[in-house]
């Protein structure tokens, strides 16, 4: 059959594409256990570089700084992004909605150098006009990350909001629920999975950002990507391989848990007779 031929071509491409995506990461993991400093020479198995990594004060403090910024940015981005998603999917007649929707989609594709430069100029101007921020650092990175992460949260949450059955909300309100209570009792539990995945996405985006943070940061705040970047610029370093391995492991673990939970929810839904 002709049909199966084209089908298998795309299947082959899928396998090759996945290999292309995963082989370089696999190489990083293997070489993080290399005893030698050189990439091309395999000098036996060793966890030496992990020890080095955990003794590196600069990296450890940068990790802590990045984790804190990512936590605050993701939390704020979930609030702002969810509100945006509500306006875009629900309030069709609200004034300024078109402007809001362009301001929320543009950060998804905006080149990072432009976003970073423009926010820095804003912070400099603000410092001149209202005297804040005196020093750029954690707070300015938090604002910058919140802004672009909100866009991603809005996309994730609005996709979920479209699937919410409005009639249940209307029923609750007909039975005397205030809009606020309806939100917390009906809508929130339904969109909760989207909020969690939006939060996780925002967290990883904030943790990963180098360019915007470099623009808006001051001397006081050095995030993990900045440390990695300045070390990587000098060439390949086995310590960074060890760090990469830990990051890949952590992300894979979270993705696996997410997959497991989603599969369980799916099965539960299939088991209930009326679903």
């Amino acid at each position: 059959m002709v049909k199966s031929r084209s089908f298998s071509f795309s299947k082959v491409m899928l396998v090759l594409g996945l290999l292309f995506l995963y082989l370089p990461m696999f190489v990083l993991i293997v070489y993080s256990f290399n005893a030698s400093r050189l990439v091309s020479v395999w000098a036996g198995f060793s966890t030496h570089w992990y020890g080095e990594l955990f003794r590196d004060e600069q990296i450890l403090s940068a990790v802590w700084m990045s984790l804190r910024i990512a936590f605050y940015s993701a939390s704020m981005a979930v609030c702002l992004g969810t509100l945006c998603a509500f306006v875009i999917t629900r309030c069709k007649k609200m004034r300024g909605r078109t402007l809001l929707s362009s301001m929320i989609t543009a950060p998804l594709v905006m080149p990072e150098v432009i976003t970073g430069l423009s926010l820095l100029l804003l912070f400099v101007q603000m410092a001149q006009t209202i005297g804040w921020p005196v020093d750029r650092g954690m707070a300015t990175i938090w604002i910058a990350h919140t802004t672009f992460c909100s866009a991603y949260v809005a996309v994730v949450v609005s996709a979920r909001l479209q699937e919410v059955d409005r009639s249940i909300e209307e029923a609750a309100m007909d039975l005397g629920c205030t809009p606020l209570k309806t939100f917390f009792v009906i809508t929130l539990p339904v969109i909760a999975p989207a909020l969690v995945s939006g939060w996780l996405l925002a967290f990883t985006l904030s943790l990963d950002d180098l360019v915007i943070a470099s623009f808006v940061s001051g001397p006081g705040a050095t995030t993990l990507p900045m440390v990695v970047f300045s070390s990587v610029r000098m060439g390949v370093s086995p310590k960074i391989n060890a760090l990469a391995t830990l990051i890949i492991l952590a992300v894979s673990l979270i993705a696996f848990i997410a997959w497991y939970l989603m599969r369980r929810a799916e099965r539960k839904r299939l088991q209930t007779p009326d679903a």
Binding site: V87, L121, V124
Partner: protein
């Protein structure tokens, strides 16, 4: 009774103000206005000033001296960009590299998305997670991985020499080839995702009808599947092309001395030369260049976010 009633009225009033639709939805609006739109106006303003040795390193546009407001607008930065062939070459290089990378991403990504959409339902989630997972790990580290692979003493050269295919190591790192490869590698998941979401919603009955009417599968693909997935292709291409034009990390780590890309030039203008007005002018021109793709992407994304409701 009175003591109980008053606080109730009060909280009721506070609640009414706080949870008024306008107030609640005004917060994200103001936030984005202040931290997304206003900064662009500032970039435009500073691109019209001239650089000075000061903090901040640019001249003010508006000056209030002796009860007269003087507005000094300097278009010198834009003329400077036009007169120096380096900048034009950098813009051209960025667009060329980003376009090439987008085409390669599409050629690899479309069949991947197609296979995913045709896979059994319980496989689709796993495959989707597998494609997206790399993009959740560190972007920087994934670009860095290629430094170890492409280098002169890197894995790929060692492997090719071991096979006996080449005698001398090929120069692959610090070339334009490495930059395109890096962009394709880093942005491939963003191409696959929108095409997959588009293809998975495709009405299978259309394909069945076509094949019942004697359409060959390749013809069906060209005349039904491909046109119907146009929106996904467009969104994926914009998600790759627009950020790739302004990319800094990839040309910096994988590119060589002859790699001219505008993101890198802007970074150097800002951090090394400390010329904020020229960096701003570079950003404004880049934005104008990307205006049409950004609008195209916005129209797609807004439609995605608004339907049903």
């Amino acid at each position: 009774m009175r003591r109980k009633l008053l606080p109730d009225l009060f909280t009721e009033r506070v609640r009414a103000v706080l949870f008024n639709r306008r107030v609640v939805f005004g917060i994200p609006f103001l936030w984005l206005l202040l931290f997304f739109l206003l900064p662009f106006a500032l970039v435009l303003k500073i691109s019209l000033t001239s650089a000075v040795m000061a903090i901040p390193p640019y001249e003010p546009v508006f000056r209030w001296v002796d009860n007269t407001l003087s507005v000094v607008v300097n278009i010198g930065n834009y003329l400077f960009l036009l007169s120096d062939s380096l900048y034009i070459a950098a813009y051209w290089g960025s667009v060329k590299t980003a376009f090439l990378a987008t085409v390669v991403c599409l050629l690899i990504g479309y069949p991947m998305a197609y296979a995913m959409a045709r896979a059994p339902k319980h496989w689709q989630l796993v495959l989707l997670l597998m494609v997206m997972l790399p993009s959740w790990t560190s972007f920087l580290i994934r670009v860095y991985a290629w430094m170890g692979i492409l280098g002169n003493q890197g894995l790929l050269n060692s492997f090719l020499m071991w096979l006996g295919l080449i005698e001398q190591p090929l120069k692959m790192l610090n070339t334009n080839f490495a930059v395109v490869l890096g962009i394709v590698y880093a942005y491939l998941p963003f191409m696959v995702l929108p095409i997959y979401t588009n293809l998975v919603k495709l009405d299978v009955r259309l394909l069945e009808a076509a094949s019942d009417l004697g359409c060959r599968s390749l013809t069906t693909f060209w005349s039904i599947t491909l046109p119907l997935s146009k929106a996904g292709i467009l969104a994926g291409s914009m998600l790759v092309f627009i950020p790739a034009v302004g990319e800094f990390v990839i040309p910096e780590l994988l590119g060589g001395p002859d790699t001219l890309m505008i993101g890198k030039v802007l970074w150097e203008e800002f951090f090394n030369n400390r010329d904020w007005p020229v960096a701003s002018a570079l950003a404004i021109v880049m934005l104008l260049l990307l205006l049409v793709p950004i609008v195209l992407f916005h129209r797609f994304q807004a439609r995605e976010m608004e339907k049903h409701g």
